[in-house]
Amino acid sequence: MSVKLPIYLDNNATTPCDPRVVEEMIPYFTEKFGNAASRSHAFGWVAEEAVDYAREQVAKLINASSKEIIFTSGATEADNLALKGVFEMYSSKGNHIITCTTEHKAVLDACKHIEKLGGEVTYLQVQPDGLVDLNELEKAITDKTILISIMYGNNEIGVVQPIREISAIAKKHGVLFFTDATQAVGKIPVDVEADGIDLMAFSAHKMYGPKGVGALYVRRKNPRVKVTAQMDGGGHERGMRSGTMNVPGIVGFGKACEICMNEMEAEATRLSVMRDRLEQGLLELEEAYVNGNIEHRLPHVANISFKYVEGEGLMMGFNKNIALSSGSACTSASLEPSYVLKALGLGDDLAHSSLRFGLGRFTTDEQIDYTIDAIKETVLKLREMSPLWEMYKEGIDLDAIEWAHH
């Protein structure tokens, strides 16, 4: 077997830095180390120039103007800045925010914080395929609504929301639209103009850039959007985000965006072919199900439940060689299975039995072949060991059993 192990299929968690990105960054740690805010000497000018250039690269990928890019430490900070910043800035207009239950924790927890500050938040249920119901969304809007926050592509199931339809509803009602596009930018075409986005969070390390840097897109025209800074200090980033610029990180982010701009289309096609092959291979198993809508989905993501085997036990069969994540409770500290899968209406048993596959730029066909074989083998082995599988095969209705909950 010539396949290089271990295989990394957890690209939704983070991606490796592209070597071309690292190469761009290196000078900015050593000889070009200046503070981009130092206006009085060449070290500062060089750094500022690099940041400006990176800002152009980032803006171009999402069809924005460079002035609309606010650099942050990552998508979590950008999510917080968007939600809390809009809540504070537009408090005279209203206090109501609409989001949905499958959002990333950075959005959900920021919303909970806002509720403590007196805000009102509607958490829309999603449909069983993970998509937001547009009628429900529109019905939730009140005269107090200031913001709709719906993610672009989901990190667990890859489902891509109907962004243009959502932004049209927001516009019709004079409500701002924010999207957490962390998993989408650099993977599929994201165009803030065509998509009608007012604010958007995204991150470098999900698109082959470095960790610790991200951005918030803040629209400057039609309408001009403002957010109240959540960090006080030197007034960097047009006063919206103080703090010394992470120059090497920003340079890397810019380069990562440029690479995505040039290669995204071919990469998306390549990854979706590979993902579909992986999925088809695994669905040859009985009682295996894809979670989430398969039409409106990021090209590199698959989330599959293997009924009657438990996710963590399943991963143990191959996690020395394949890096994946599971919706099983056992893999997290919370002892609760994935809230995203539960929001789709999946029973806890199916949520416990799920694996998330995140393919990436460096995934190869050989790795996919190896993964299909390894997972199939483990599922079959564990089913032989599973009392639930035996009962299912005997035709026993597992839902009719009174289980002792513990």
Partner: protein, 138 residues
């Protein structure tokens, strides 16, 4: 989370996976846990009616590696014991033997519960009183 070598060994080479005939009077079956909790264990014992010793034990487990290892180990320990001796198997013995971390202690508790449930099933089938078991916290 890193698993101990013993957990990995039981996971890779589980002992006594299988099914005994639950209709037999000398077979006791315990089914504990719940699919929603991510663990279900079925543990069975077969008692030799002349010697009173557990001559065979089998398990099937839906759960994480530690749950599989706990039940595999339990079946190993059960064989050759009398039913009364089997009752003395404590979950902390399993924790110690498998080096289970605190978050996996519930797997050992489940295994102990499965042993007791199997013994109770055997007792009831053989006209003995059902034991009242202390609920351990999972």
């Amino acid at each position: 989370m890193a698993y101990s070598e013993k957990v990995i060994d039981h996971y890779q080479n589980p002992k006594n996976v299988g099914t005994l005939d639950k209709a037999k009077t000398n077979v006791g079956t315990g089914l504990v846990g719940a699919p929603e909790c991510g663990d279900v264990m079925r543990l069975q014992i077969e008692v030799d009616e002349t010697t009173g010793l557990i001559k065979d034990a089998k398990f099937k487990t839906f759960g994480c590696g530690s749950a599989i290892a706990s039940s595999s180990l339990a079946t190993e320990w059960l064989k050759g014991k009398t039913v009364d001796q089997a009752l003395t198997i404590d979950n902390m013995d399993i924790v110690e033997e498998l080096n289970l971390p605190p978050v996996k202690i519930h797997c050992s508790v489940l295994a102990e519960d499965a042993i007791k449930a199997a013994i109770n099933d055997y007792r009831v089938k053989n006209g003995m009183e059902e034991l009242v078991l202390d609920e351990k916290k999972h």
